[in-house]
Subunit: 316 residues, 2 copies
């Protein structure tokens, strides 16, 4: 059984994969005052990673840097073994292919410190498929972030069949310690949980597109100008608990439940992602963008997101 260190004693983070997710993780850990050692085999990967961190740094500064936070504490190395050697915690964000992940895991298995925890950012794979036959398997967990990890607090922690439950507990503590909001899934599940919730929402939104219930701009507003505003503040169950007034969830369940069941009866279809729907979506978001470029829209989203996160920090 490993002897996991206290989360306060963690100093050095290893990053495997420096694409959008890995780079965003790197920026987050640097902002929290850690030494970060990153590896990515792609061409020009180091420059891209450093550019990402440079871009993210003003945002992270606005949200508040930890003592000692310094972009210069990022080291880029030539092999995954170097990134993992001596690291207290590893965040892996390699491409989403089982063969690539398994090959990478096998390479670092012998180098991983005996008490170090290894977390995978995978959104599409589960740990039981990836950890088989590895010495480090008990210390391997899913730590699935939500894009971009340097801004969104959620991390989904899931153990594989061979994962030591104490390692998953440790990962929960560590993510909490570094300022993320980890949740613990008790079972492995395709897509984990948050993406399934998003997928459920999108399925119904796409049916509205297919059946021409409203323009895509209006379907988007149906969330963002309505229920979406509350979903940034509280989860769906707590919102419905308050929708029940003084009677809380019990009142809501008894009074709104039957309406929900009636709606669900008419919500049994799953759209096919065909060329027609593709064209409708592309046209719809273009109309909604009304001339704003992707860059402008991204700046708008991130500016509002940072203001929202600051507000939530202040209001506790």
């Amino acid at each position: 059984m490993a002897n996991y260190p206290a989360v306060e004693d963690i100093r050095k983070i290893g990053i495997l994969g420096g694409g959008t997710i890995g780079a965003s993780w790197s920026a987050w850990f640097l902002a929290r005052g850690y030494d970060v050692t990153a590896w990515d085999p792609g061409e020009g990967a180091e420059a891209k990673l450093r550019a990402f961190v440079d871009n993210a740094w003003p945002q992270l500064t606005e949200l508040g840097l930890s003592a000692g936070a310094d972009k210069a504490r990022l080291t880029f190395v030539a092999t995954p073994e170097e990134a993992v050697a001596g690291a207290d915690f590893i965040q892996e964000s390699a491409p989403e292919r089982l063969d690539i992940k398994r090959e990478l895991y096998a390479r670092v298995d012998g180098v991983l410190g005996p008490d170090a925890i290894f977390a995978s950012s995978t959104s599409g794979l589960v740990m039981s498929e990836m950890q088989q036959g590895l010495k480090s398997a008990p210390r391997m967990v899913i730590g699935h972030p939500f894009n971009p990890p340097h801004l969104i607090p959620l991390v989904e922690v899931v153990a594989g069949k061979e994962t030591d439950p104490a390692a998953a507990d440790w990962a929960m503590d560590f993510y909490r310690h570094v300022g993320k909001h980890p949740i613990r899934l008790k079972k492995e599940l395709k897509g984990h949980l948050a993406n399934r919730l998003q997928a459920a929402l999108w399925r119904e939104a796409l049916l509205a597109v297919k059946e021409d219930i409203a323009s895509i701009e209006d379907i988007d507003a149906a969330m963002a100008q309505g229920p979406g505003l509350r979903l940034a503040l509280m989860g769906p169950h707590m919102i419905f608990n308050l929708a029940g007034g003084k009677g809380g969830m019990a009142h809501f369940y008894d009074h709104i439940g039957p309406a929900m069941e009636a709606w669900w009866e008419t919500m049994q279809e799953t759209p096919k992602l065909d060329a027609e729907l593709r064209a409708a979506l592309i046209k719809g978001v273009e109309e909604e963008a009304a001339g704003r470029s992707i860059d402008q829209l991204e700046a708008e989203r991130d500016g509002k997101l940072i203001a929202l996160l600051k507000m939530l920090q202040e209001k506790g």
Copy 2:
């Protein structure tokens, strides 16, 4: 054909039904500087309505009052005919029963001004069922708000079979003019649109409860600490457009679409709202509340919601 007035010329709002929704609408229209004449047959209805407006007024003041806004411009009357007579626009929020609505509509049909628009807040009924046989039918539309209407911008506008499309257009203009974010549904639909999107999300969240994927607190965090943060800023399609990077929606569709389809295949179940699930939800939200009362949680939600709305006002 009616000769609809310019939205700027509207002066007097009639409110039918002064429960939570009608009272919240009253507060909104008062804050926007209108004369409001309200009717509700319930015992103590006037006192409750005025108390609601008093409570909401500091929130509305924080968000900004229009010129001339004054709580004293609320008049409470003894009959629906008095509330409707002379009103330029009527917002009806009577109980959600077809017989009650139809009886009420029949009573006011002869009093409604020849150019006045009559909007119903109904969430569960559709206009075609309610407007049949009425002289005013062409000027009757759904104007479904999202709770609480004095804070949440969304209003879903839907025409019934007998509604003049120009009346629905006018309602869109008027709601926009008074600072709401109206959307236009092209078809009548059980639950309209926003509630169906919420129901789709809740269905999947409930399956996670049933299958014990995570605690209710963690399921709530899976939205509120993750995708929910972005859904307050942009709708699901625009979010996915940006998730596609420079390639936008086309890239997202081609690359993430197949994963979505795989998840949907495993998301075909609808939970039964039985006693066991009810008990699990009540227990789960109680644990999540961690001692906070409904009043405290409401104050927390509303405080954050107002801060969020102000931030979105400022950021445009």
